[in-house]
């Protein structure tokens, strides 16, 4: 029973969120909840503010209005120490990987462990090897980000995002710039992470194949009205939504 209750617990709750650059509103009045174990998709056309919303969720850009709650604690009302404590519970995979280019893959993954644990260097090395092998990069410890391919950079970025075993993972356009097979492998990795680690996952994407393959809940952002049009399982939205904007997005414009 407890497990059941845990399953439906709200991990992230967004209330009346408005993101803006100065007086230019990107998205306004967003309300949605990400539950424990969800793979939650933030979708919408290019330029509708998906990545800006993500920056608001992960604490990089303060919203113009509204709140983001992590386990019922409002992120933007916390003091810096409180924000740091929340930040340690999630990992972020950036669009281009964002590996620190002056460090090897091993050093990249090790840095969060160095900063936040008291493990000895040899223990950290073991953990680093484990994380890298989870994303299929065993043996690449000593490579620099500039020496490996784009898909590998993304996977290494994922290894780094998982370094502290966070139970929430954010993905910014995980399949952008990847070939279809690498993109699918990344999707499978995301599913495996959810199932094995019980992580809650938020994915920003406009890749339809990924949306239907992994998402069990989603929010649809619209660029014209600058707000969300729907929340729900993307497969259900495809089957049931009457909104022509959502229908045309989910069917690639084919009617």
């Amino acid at each position: 029973m407890e497990n059941q209750a845990n399953k439906t617990k709200a991990r992230i709750e967004v209330r009346d969120l408005t993101m803006a650059y100065g007086s230019f509103v990107i998205q306004h009045d967003l309300n949605f909840t990400v539950k424990s174990g969800d793979i939650f998709i933030i979708m919408g056309g290019s330029g509708c503010g998906k990545s800006t919303l993500l920056r608001g969720l992960v604490g990089l850009k303060e919203p113009a209005k509204g709140q983001v709650f992590y386990d019922n604690v409002s992120f933007w009302d916390c003091d810096p120490a409180g924000q740091e404590a929340i930040m340690r519970r999630y990992g972020v995979l950036y669009q281009a990987g964002a590996l620190w280019s002056s460090m090897t893959l091993a050093e990249n993954v090790a840095l969060p462990l160095d900063e936040y644990t008291d493990l000895s260097p040899s223990q950290i090395n073991e953990l680093v090897s484990l994380k890298l092998s989870l994303v299929g990069l065993a043996g690449f410890e000593e490579f620099y980000p500039s020496e490996i391919s784009g898909g590998m950079v993304k996977r290494a970025g994922l290894a780094r995002a998982m370094a502290l075993d966070p139970d929430i993972l954010f993905f910014d356009e995980p399949s952008a710039g990847l070939d279809p097979i690498s993109a699918r492998r990344l999707d499978e990795l995301i599913l495996a992470l959810r199932d094995s680690l019980g992580a809650t996952i938020v994915v920003v994407t406009h890749e339809l194949a990924s949306i239907f393959a992994i998402g069990n809940n989603s929010v649809f952002l619209d660029a014209e009205t600058r707000t969300m049009l729907a929340v729900g399982d993307p497969k259900k939205l495809l089957a049931e939504s009457n909104d022509p904007r959502i229908r045309s997005f989910l069917t690639r414009g084919e009617k």
Partner: protein, 373 residues
């Protein structure tokens, strides 16, 4: 590119297009044809005959689109039937989505006063940003003193090597030549009084108090300040700084602090080295062209200099180190998210550094004069 036309009896204006249309031969003007179509009596429709056409590209398309727009303004029908199939389809494609009128950026310039106002507000804002950067850097420094700042020791070592040892060759060359130039300029005047031995004083004091610190700082502004700005700017573009922030690691401590430390520690050392290189350069002129003996020159230099002369120069070097590191890091952290923004950040870092070096040099010189050192 042959264009001819005729008015057909059924009130049709027939345009015959022939030859090879290629943008390499330029874009033909549609004006003459428009004049003809616009002349009375206005035709009911415009049709095309392209049997003589041998090749076409965008030049034909722009020509036809201009013509079509003109005709629709005059409400004359255009029949695309005579056109090659590909041309007709491309024209349909180009006119499928009507031009978004408000999409074009406003190019009209704001009035002078408005622009002055905007520039002023911008300046106030950037002064504010600079102040808050100074504040954050200061807080990070306090954290360092309390032993709580988080950065990697290996980064600091690497940076010290980068802006210390690796700058030696260029600092040697520049300061040696500056010493040489000082000696030359001084020698010409001092010779008139038969006082060429004082070239040693001139070079020694000039290098130790002023030129050693200043030249080293300017070399480092171009070499290291720009590099800092470019490194941090590229990290901003690649979201590497965001990645640090979401890990709860302050970029101020992790990236800016070691860079500041490295430069503040290394610049005085480089300056001391530059002082000696300059004195060496001066000595070569003194001994080589003024017939002074090495011992004479050495003794004169030693008697002219004291620890105070060097200390004043080294204090300046330390201050310049702060200025160079500060400008480089500030511009790097303020960098926008594009490749050209990184270039602007590097340029602006060097400009800011050199201006602040000169200004702080002037301030320090006045202070030294007041307290009499």
């Amino acid at each position: 590119m042959d264009i001819s036309f005729s008015r057909e009896p059924d009130n049709t204006f027939l345009v015959r297009l022939g030859g090879n249309w290629n943008i390499a031969y330029g874009l033909p003007s549609a004006e003459q044809l428009q004049k003809q179509i616009g002349s009375t009596p206005a035709p009911e429709r415009v049709a095309f005959d392209t049997r003589e056409l041998r090749g076409w590209d965008s030049s034909l398309l722009t020509f036809l689109i201009k013509l079509t727009n003109f005709c629709s303004e005059k409400s004359i029908r255009v029949s695309n039937q005579g056109l090659p199939e590909g041309v007709a389809r491309l024209i349909d494609l180009a006119s499928a989505v009507p031009e978004k009128k408000d999409a074009r950026k406003k190019s009209s310039r704001a009035p002078v006063l408005a622009r002055v106002g905007e520039a002023t507000l911008e300046a106030v804002k950037s002064a504010g940003a600079m102040l808050s950067f100074i504040g954050e850097a200061f807080l990070a420094f306090i954290k360092l003193l309390r032993g709580k700042a988080r950065f990697r020791g290996s980064d600091l070592t690497w940076l010290i090597q980068e802006c210390g040892a690796q700058a030696l060759p260029i600092v040697s060359l520049v300061s040696f030549l500056v010493g040489l130039i000082l000696a030359f300029v001084g020698a010409m005047e001092l010779k008139l009084f038969g006082a060429q031995i004082y070239v040693a004083d001139l070079v020694g004091i000039g290098m130790a108090r002023e030129m050693g610190a200043m030249m080293t700082a300017i070399v480092m502004a171009g070499r290291t300040g720009a590099a800092f700005a470019a490194q941090l700017g590229t990290m901003e573009v690649n979201e590497e700084i965001d990645a640090l922030k979401t890990l709860g690691i302050s970029p101020m401590e992790f990236l800016v602090l070691p860079r500041m430390l490295a430069l503040v520690l290394m610049l005085p050392l480089l300056c001391l080295y530059a002082d000696f290189m300059g004195i060496l350069g001066g000595g070569i002129i003194g001994i080589g062209t003024l017939n002074l003996s090495p011992v004479e020159y050495f003794n004169e230099t030693v008697s002219a200099l004291n620890v105070m002369q060097f200390t004043t120069g080294l204090i300046k070097a330390g201050v310049f180190g702060v200025m160079v590191a500060f400008s480089g890091c500030l511009r790097g952290m303020q960098c926008g998210r594009s490749a050209s923004a990184v270039g602007e950040a590097a340029t602006s870092a060097v400009v800011t550094a050199i201006v602040s070096i000169i200004v702080s040099d002037a301030v320090l010189t006045v202070i030294y004069d007041r307290i009499g050192v």
